[in-house]
Amino acid sequence: MSRLSRLAAVGALALMTGVMSVAPSFAKDVKIGVLMPRTGRYAETGLSVVRGIEMVVNNTNAAGGIKSLGGGKINLVIADNGSDPTKTSLEARRLMSEEKVSFILGPYSTPEAQAFMPVADRYQVGGVGLQTTVIPTTPYFSTISISAEGFGKAYADAVKWLISKGAKINTVAITYANNDYGQVVSKTAAAALAAQGVKVLESIAVEPSVKDMTPIVLRVKSLAPDAVISVVYFQDGVLLHKARFNLGYTSPIWLGGSAGFSDDKLWGTLGKEVAEKTLTSSFGLAFYSADGKLPGLKDALQKGTAAYPDKVLDQSFMFGVQAARFLVQALENAGTDDPVKVNAAFRGLKFKAGDPAIVLPIIPGDVHYAEDGTLAGTSAIFVQWKDGAKHTVYPEAVASAKPIIEGVK
């Protein structure tokens, strides 16, 4: 080694130690907004999401903060949108213009997201929607759930998978909640099924405020389909299962979702008697199931149980965890608290299958953000109920149980 190169090496080392010793004074804390319902209709859900976010942030801060920011800590500014779109817009404005946050975790639902997006676009501060089925209309909003189109396709994929497992499905009847979301799901599913050569006998619109599903089930019965897809919310779903039970019509393969087939409280609300006759043979579309085979999920469940021993770690909690883990990675990649750069880093996120940052079973493989701000590589999961517990059966990559299909051994 020449003198010169030795000198260079020593210089480089000196520089490095210099940088390293100076680093702590550069440690930059970063302010992150959390915009969730903590009062009003979705209060319970919002509070659970916030618990998930706080757990990830506390763990990250305890483990030395964001390395690329010199160990800077994440400071959360939590705002309540009262489950209300108008308040969402006001609070978003406050977080961006007064609190000067670098990014916002939230809001929660689709109407809230629609109120949020114009504000984000104007202030150029990014946000991430947790259970929004809209496709973002601004580069400053991303989602981590599945779009309505994604759900529609998921039903068709599941039917294809069931056929591959030996189920005889030539005809399908669809019932859907008659609103934007239900119509898109129904239309996408019907188109995809037709493309697969499955005949869609009829798509029956049902008002979500329906008080009795018996006539609808009678209509489906008179069509005599091999399988039925029901796009329902919780209450109409309960009425659907009760009508199926009362009429003794349990023979076709029934797929449906989401809340009306996979909500944690569904089994208890229906009662064992009805649930066993209806849910156990159905395939419920879901965003989340605690039994999903993912290393990140197991880790989050463990840490969650330790942090909140008396709380139920539900779907909302895990969406909070997922959003926060994505954000931590985005901050690490950005190395700055500049909102525009943080948002760009968030949109640029890429994960390989099995990455510990992934906790949601709707992300079975590699994942990245598509141009439109939705996650590419997500897939709805399907669960089957047994004795009050849900078991993931599809996609097989995250499945914890084998499906039980009517008429197939």
């Binding site: 008659n178 008080k211 006539p215 009678l218």
Partner: protein, 288 residues
Amino acid sequence: MSAEVLLQATVQGLQMGAIYALIALSMTLIFSVGGLLNFAHGDFMALAMYGALALYQSFALDAYAAAPLLFFGFFLLGFLMFRRLVQPVLAAGVLAGAQLTLGLVFVQENFLLMVFGGDYLSVPTVLSNKNLVIPPLTMPWPLLVGSLLAVVLAAILYVVLMRTDFGRQVRAITQNSDAAALMGIRIDRVQAIAFGIGIGLLGLTGAIIVAQFTLTPAMGLDFTLIALIVMVIGGLGSFAGSMIAGAIIGVSESLGSLLYGGTVGAMIPYAILVLVLLFRPHGLMGEH
């Protein structure tokens, strides 16, 4: 569509219609007291359903056994509320009374949200998930009991209102309250009792039909709407009219959903309402 399926849907519709009528009956009674439109009607019923839930959770009391308790409890609630709240406001006009009930909607919804949370809840009863099967018909027992009770209550209410001194006093107040006062009728007391009975009936109704529905704090509005529609179609203040209108709405909704899908089925009550208002503005059995 086979005759069997049509018959099943018709019977189902009749039973749902009787439930609608049952809810509309108490609204009719309350309306006959000083012309008060009770927009919190469905919410009082939701309150009764949650009451049935609380009694079940605390004392393992079945909703059907709790029904008389809820009737008396809600009667007292209605009686006191009329005296302390409704009457002073109603004195300022029917519109102020309607606004008060609108306010009660928010109070009750938020009260339920605070006490019971926003989750969906259900109350198991002895009749839950039991069906009476008379081939080819299947009839859920909760609906059957609810609909029979609706018929019985309508008959009792009719007799009480048309054939007793109390009923005549209630009607006298509605038709000419000054003249009623001249008869020495204690208007405030008669009205408070009638209002109490109306709210009490909602307590009873909530307990009787709780097995059929899923509880959520905001569930009341839908029931208020259907009760209003049934009451207006039947003719304001007519008990027989409410029964008939309930049956018509129930059956047409059911057959409409069966034959043309749920959206058409859900539109039918409104379509009938418009037709009735166009051609019989006083309702099917309403007096001019």
